[in-house]
């Protein structure tokens, strides 16, 4: 539920129907059920998905930097392992670079990550285990992009409004993260996380992620525009999704073969 990139990336018809059914029957009270549904709505929609992503990073001085990439996602199991394939278009100096992740849902296992550098024809394994580092220099973190294991936090339902559930999440291993807790506002109908607010050790709000625009695509609620704000640095990143498609039957492209030469669906 913590990431938005997954949000736009698919929802299976089965899940959607389950979600709506639950929403019709009055508010849920079991926080584990809520965070599970939100996690699936945010990261596991459909069996696979594709989107063109544009990031606009604006620093406190107003200087803009842009990132454009195509992302392919395929689930191994709903709520479990996933593969991601990210093909960069902009900025020009990273064009055709590919970033690939085999995401492990098991907390005890690190994700496997690869980077392909086309000018050297080099397939590099990335030795990065810290998921709370910036993704491509934006205000989004790796964990925002590929998801944070539900087991990492203890969850508490602190408020239920007419439209939302508000869940407070406290890390079980606070030494591994920079926040002391965060809250997530989850849409009661769609289970799409609409707002996340991160608090530091002084209890001060320092980071927010908002779903600015949600569209229904192939019948699935999809975040097509989200903004992260770093209140400490004054930097913001706008992430926009276009050409979102679900269940496109992505093949087994998460291998060295396709790192070296991306599949057509990633390039076009």
């Amino acid at each position: 539920m913590k990431t938005l990139m997954g949000l736009m990336l698919a929802v299976s018809a089965v899940f959607a129907s389950v979600l709506y059914a639950a929403a019709d029957g009055g508010p849920l009270t079991d926080v584990d059920v809520i965070v599970n549904k939100a996690n699936l709505a945010a990261y596991y929609q459909g069996d696979d998905g594709k989107a063109s992503v544009k990031m606009t990073i604006t620093d406190s001085k107003g200087q803009e930097r842009n990132r454009e990439f195509t992302i392919l996602r395929k689930d191994i199991a709903d709520g479990g392992d996933q593969n991601y394939f990210v093909y960069f278009d902009r900025p020009a100096d990273v064009r055709r670079m590919v970033f690939m992740v085999h995401k492990r849902a098991d907390m005890s296992k690190d994700d496997d990550r690869w980077l392909y550098l086309p000018s050297l024809d080099l397939v590099r394994r990335i030795a990065a285990s810290d998921k709370r580092t910036s993704f491509v220099g934006s205000d989004f973190l790796y964990e925002d992009v590929s998801g944070r294991s539900l087991e990492e936090d203890s969850h508490e339902l602190i408020e239920t409004t007419d439209t939302s559930y508000v869940v407070k999440n406290v890390p079980k291993r606070p030494e591994t993260v920079e926040f002391s807790y965060y809250t997530v506002t989850i849409d009661r109908k769609t289970f799409v996380p609409m707002k996340m607010e991160y608090y530091d050790t002084n209890g001060r709000l320092y980071r927010t992620i908002e779903s600015v625009e949600v569209k229904e695509i192939q019948g699935f609620p999809t975040v097509v525009k989200s903004v992260v704000k770093n209140l400490n640095s004054g930097s913001t990143t706008l992430m926009e999704f276009a050409n979102v498609q679900y269940n496109i039957k992505v093949g087994d492209v998460f291998t060295e073969r396709y790192l070296r030469r991306p599949p057509r669906e990633a390039i076009r």
Binding site: N66, P91, D93, S119, A127, D130, G137, S138, E256, R261
Partner: protein, 427 residues
């Protein structure tokens, strides 16, 4: 440089093939195949000076402007790629065209990829150390402070890959031997064993490079498989020492590229919190199997073990241990000309890498160090790269060599130590 001329020929050939293809495929609705070229590249200025006096070379270590053009297009059945650099080089006082890539890529079936033409090829697990990657390197570019991209020189080759659940295999055939772009003395001074002294522009290396098409060829293969994200590979290479591995006799000896076959293997995967890799190769110096010929390199075993890990936020460290073990050391010592100092049996090398990203990953600080306890020499590559905007980057770096002896691998380059700066505009 001859690279340019061959390159132009290749480019014409590939372009001709592409045009024929587009003519053949006129049935589809596409207006013009040529309209769909995706053109990018960069423009760069790069300047550097030696930090020590070198009696054999210019003070300028690098002084060049470079325009790289990178064009790509595709049809339903193939991708076409051209990438070339137009270079104004003030050190060599010449203009040059370096064609980096000109190739056709096809995916004719679900289990096969084909890439033909000029291309950059890389495999193996080392970080700036190569055992089973016997594709051409440009050591000169690496040591004078060009972008790391230029360490890999292009091959004129055909690569065919097959993919199967059991294993994948790559075959690379290079019909005419592509040597490294090795140290010639033209712009980097080096240890000349015949003169038993450092040398440079006074003793430019003359080489007899095998260059007969389809006879002086190279063949490389890799069989690889990913098992639970541990990447296993075995390699074979049948060709030549890529940089001079021997010389002729006489008053004007010429460097030679004796036959070389290499057989090796590697594994890479997660170890603890980081990534570990192991690789070895048996270098069979096929023109001197017994190691008794002083004019040809000895056979060797080469072994590498490496580990890298993120040790802080956006801070990655890597360490590698590498050894070159001479196989017929006794024969080598016996065959040395009188008075010539022999090398140690083992050349040990340790590398360290530190890479730190700062300022929202726009500033990259990196330091790569080679250190040989047996040769008692070292090579340090500090580099700072700052992306001023998405399109513009500035860079400051150095290549610093240390050595107790002038005849060791890095020690010989001590007078080539240099500092450089660059500005690059990417489009």
């Amino acid at each position: 440089m001859s690279y340019g001329r061959t390159g132009v020929v290749l480019m014409v050939l590939v372009a001709a093939a592409g045009l024929t293809a587009s003519a053949a495929g006129q049935n589809d609705e596409k207006s013009s195949w040529l309209d769909e070229w995706d053109l990018h590249g960069f423009y760069e200025l790069r300047a550097g000076y030696r930090t020590r006096n070198d009696p054999y070379e210019k003070d300028m270590s690098i002084m060049e402007t470079r325009l790289q053009l990178d064009a790509m297009s595709y049809t339903d059945w193939a991708d076409f790629r051209f990438k070339g650099d137009i270079l104004g080089d003030l050190v060599m006082e010449e203009a040059d065209f370096d064609l980096r890539e000109a190739n056709i890529f096809m995916r004719p079936t679900g289990f096969m990829d084909v890439k033909i033409g000029r291309q950059i090829l890389t495999w193996g697990t080392g970080d700036l150390i190569f055992i089973n990657d016997l594709f051409p390197k440009d050591w000169q570019a690496f040591l004078i402070g060009r972008d790391t991209e230029y360490l890999k020189a292009p091959s004129d080759a055909g690569k065919v890959s097959f993919f199967h659940d059991l294993a994948n295999v790559d075959f690379v055939y290079t019909p005419q031997f592509d040597s490294d772009r090795y140290i010639t003395g033209e712009r980097l001074s080096y240890w000349n064993p015949n003169m038993q002294s450092l040398a440079g522009r006074n003793a430019i290396v003359r080489a007899d490079r095998p260059d007969r098409w389809f006879r002086d060829d190279e063949f490389a293969a890799r069989l690889y498989k990913n098992i639970n994200n541990y990447e296993y590979a075995i390699y074979g290479y049948w060709g030549y020492w890529k940089s001079p591995g021997g010389q002729t006799l006489g008053s004007a000896p010429r460097a030679t590229f004796p036959d070389l076959n290499v057989y090796g293997a590697s594994v890479r995967g997660a170890v603890g919190k980081g990534i570990g890799n192991v690789e070895f190769g048996y270098y069979e110096s096929a023109d001197d199997m017994s190691g008794t010929n002083p004019l040809v390199n000895n056979s060797e075993l080469r072994f590498l073990v490496g580990y890298s890990q993120e040790i802080g936020r956006d801070l990655t460290a890597g360490v590698q241990y590498y050894v070159e073990h001479m196989l017929d050391y006794g024969n080598y010592l016996d065959s040395l000309p009188a008075g010539m100092a022999g090398r140690d049996r083992d050349r040990n090398l340790v590398t360290f890498r530190l890479t730190k990203l700062m300022l929202n990953q726009t500033l990259t600080l990196s330091m790569f160090t080679y250190w040989s306890p047996t040769d008692k020499d070292a090579y340090i590559r500090p580099n700072v790269n700052y992306k001023v905007t998405d399109d513009m980057a500035v860079e400051l770096g150095a290549n610093v060599f240390f050595g107790d002896h002038p005849n060791t691998f890095f020690g010989q380059f001590e007078n080539n130590s240099n500092i450089y700066t660059a500005i690059r505009y990417t489009f």
